[in-house]
């Protein structure tokens, strides 16, 4: 089947559209190429982009976004969306920081607590969406407000500063193994495991099935409610990990931590080629999307462009990616119909 798709008839499609078609099928590869091209262009103007410290800075923050984006990608593949990720990251980061500064738990236990908290928050989302059948957009808009409200309630206007944390706790953000930041290794491991689970397991295939056609999936015996619940739980778990890492990276945490991160995460997912209509896309793409956005933000700083443009740029990137997807999908469907007619 994939053979037939790959050898699209040259008579009906020009070289440019064939190129576009190929780019669409190889979203991860083309994103990587764009990233390299941008890197070269930026490096000509601002060579410091390639310095070890700069690369570490960019990749560490991008790693955190990528971890959350992997969870969001799974949710989007099932035709849902999770707007509460930033509140989960913020709440977990603050909860872990305050547990540590009050000496309630030792560092490893506090980190485990943070990840568990993320899982619970994700499970709550899952129950509201899968059991009570509330559309995910409404459910997670609500829990976004609830989780952030709890965060403010706990913080009460205070912040946990670096001095309250155990000595050396935040060093992990700078730590490297064979030259690669630990955060990046964690993100790579999460992406690898998630990619294998989605591609190679029965559960992974049911995630795609639920996204491409929920009714058909139900008829085939897939428990769509359960799959939805699990992806929201996993998204919460990964956001919890991202929240723990966020706390380590920034050290000083108040109740507004990670505000606006949801947009970055969704932008990463959409740019990474995950279809917003559900049913297709990969976590590798989502992670590359996170790297791409992190790189754009870094390039703006290095090229001395105003940071105020960043937010607008995220918006444009989301719109372009979605429009491109819809265009390619329509073109692909048209050429598929044309081929069937011949």
């Amino acid at each position: 089947m994939s053979e037939a798709v790959a050898t699209a008839p040259a008579s009906t499609t020009g070289p440019l559209s064939r190129l576009l078609g190929a780019a669409a099928r190889q979203r991860e590869l083309s994103l990587l190429l764009v990233l390299l091209l941008m890197g070269v262009l930026v490096a000509v103007r601002a060579p410091q982009v390639l310095s070890a410290t700069n690369l570490t800075d960019v990749s560490v923050l991008a790693a955190i976004i990528a971890i959350a984006a992997v969870g969001e990608a799974m949710v989007v593949i099932t035709r849902n969306v999770d707007l509460s990720v930033e509140a989960v990251i913020g709440l977990v980061a603050f909860a872990v920081a305050s547990v540590l500064s009050n000496h309630i738990l030792p560092a490893p236990a506090a980190m485990a607590f943070g990840i568990g908290l993320g899982l619970v928050l994700g499970m709550i989302n899952g129950v509201v969406v899968a059991v009570f059948r509330v559309p995910s957009i409404v459910a997670t808009l609500g829990t976004l407000s609830v989780y952030r409200g709890i965060d403010f309630l706990l913080a009460g206007g205070k912040q946990v500063t670096l001095t309250g944390l155990p000595a050396g706790y935040t060093n992990a953000a700078r730590a490297t193994v064979i030259g690669i930041p630990v955060f990046v290794l964690i993100a790579l491991a999460i992406v690898a495991v998630s990619a294998v689970v989605l591609r190679q397991t029965r559960f992974g295939r049911s995630v795609y099935a639920v996204g491409s056609n929920p009714e058909a999936a139900e008829i085939l015996g897939i428990r769509t409610g359960l799959v939805t619940f699990v992806v929201f739980s996993v998204c919460g778990l990964l956001s919890g990990i991202a929240g723990v890492l966020w706390g380590i990276l920034f050290g000083t945490i108040n109740a507004t931590a990670a505000t606006g991160v949801t947009l970055q995460v969704i932008a990463a997912v959409v740019v990474g080629g995950v279809n917003i209509f559900g049913g297709s896309g990969s976590v590798v793409g989502a992670a590359l999307g996170a790297l791409f956005l992190g790189f754009i933000s870094n390039a703006l700083i290095l090229l001395r462009l105003s940071q105020f443009w960043l937010q607008a740029l995220y918006g444009v990137v989301i719109l372009i990616a979605v429009a491109l997807d819809a265009f390619l999908l329509r073109r692909f469907q048209r050429s598929a119909t044309a081929r069937r007619r011949r």
């Binding site: 009570f132 509330v134 459910a139 952030r148 995220y314 989301i318 979605v322 329509r330």
Partner: protein
């Protein structure tokens, strides 16, 4: 009495009545906890506190009934405020600046509408994108500046009331818009087509409803009204900043869904949305008067949003189960006063 008004009355028989009961209970509760609650001054305060949100909830109701959503309104508020402040600081007369801002709002709505109707993209993602875009443009326009010292007549419009009455000027605007949209939605062919689109888009397109055109105009309306809300907010705060309005979309959507509008489209009324606004305004005011922190209030709003979708869903499921138990009779969902109505005591 035409069919639209009758349908409107029939649906008033359920969710809206429940809302009214809740509203009265809240007013009784408020009057017992604080002596100032029933004062006319407090009435003006209570309305002013969320008047921008209330105004935006009206076009949002129409958009959700038509089966779409507009998440970008809060950023349009920020963009409108920023451009207004920027133009005024640059010496442009206030009247002209307001006109420019409303046009920008219409254009912003038009962009949403074109991306949704002409390119066939889901409104959820489109408006999530423009949510970031419009806020970003607001930041580009005003950066981290704050503009104040607006003309007195302008801020009087924000603070002041109709002479002799405890009715703030923006509330008059709100009532006017609510009346117009109620007539359009419940009394004209446009309203009937909006319901038809929300109920079954494909079927309404085949029956000659110009789906794309109606949706496009709804987004333009939403953008313009959001810009107007930005103007009101600027007048009320007597200052302009780029980060104004963050988080308002949540409250707007909460009012609409609390007002009985179906999140899946095709159902809902303007009177319901107006009632929901009063309910939320009174609730917020009562919480403030009893010194409940604003953090708890945001938790309450979030929970209300979820609950106002969960209750109708659960009620429908209970009803279906009840109907099945009654001997396999199938009552179509959405029927009014059917034989198996569980709502009756």
């Amino acid at each position: 009495m035409n069919a639209g008004a009758r349908r409107c009355l029939a649906s008033l028989g359920r969710w809206e009545v429940l809302l009214l009961v809740v509203l009265i209970a809240l007013i009784l509760y408020g009057s017992t906890v604080s002596p100032v609650f029933l004062s006319s001054r407090n009435f003006a305060n209570l309305i002013s506190a969320i008047i921008e949100v209330a105004i935006m909830s009206l076009p949002m109701a129409l958009i959700i009934i038509a089966g779409e959503i507009d998440l970008s309104v809060e950023s349009m508020v920020g963009l409108s405020t920023s451009i207004l402040g920027y133009l005024y600081a640059a010496g442009v007369p206030m009247e002209l600046a307001i006109v420019v801002v409303l046009i920008v709002g219409a254009l912003g709505g038009l962009l949403n509408g074109i991306l949704v109707t002409r390119m066939g993209l889901p409104s959820l993602v489109v408006t999530l994108g423009t949510l970031a875009l419009y806020r970003g443009l607001a930041l580009v326009v005003l950066e981290s500046r704050g503009i104040s010292s607006f003309p007195t007549w302008f801020t009087t419009f924000g603070f002041g009331s109709v002479p002799g009455l405890p009715i703030p000027w923006p509330f008059v605007l709100y009532l006017g818009l609510a009346a117009i949209l109620a007539v359009v939605l419940h009394g004209t062919w446009i309203g009937r087509e909006i319901y038809a689109i929300g109920k079954n888009q494909a079927a309404s397109r085949f029956s000659g409803v110009r789906v794309a055109r109606i949706k496009l105009w709804l987004f333009v309306l939403s953008g313009t009204v959001a810009a107007l809300a930005g103007v009101i907010l600027t007048a009320r705060m007597a200052s302009a900043r780029a980060d104004v309005g963050i988080g308002l979309t949540l409250v707007v959507v909460t009012i609409v869904l609390l007002g009985g509008v179906d999140i899946f489209g095709g159902r809902g009324t303007i009177p319901g949305v107006v009632l929901a606004f009063f309910t939320l305004a009174v609730l917020g005011n009562a919480l403030r008067l009893t010194n409940v922190s604003s953090d708890i209030q945001s938790i309450v709003v979030g929970l209300l949003l979820i609950v106002s979708v969960v209750i109708p869903t659960l009620a429908r499921r209970v009803k279906e189960a009840y109907d099945r138990a009654q001997g396999g009779r199938r009552v179509p969902t959405g029927s009014v006063g059917g034989p198996g109505e569980v709502a009756s005591p």
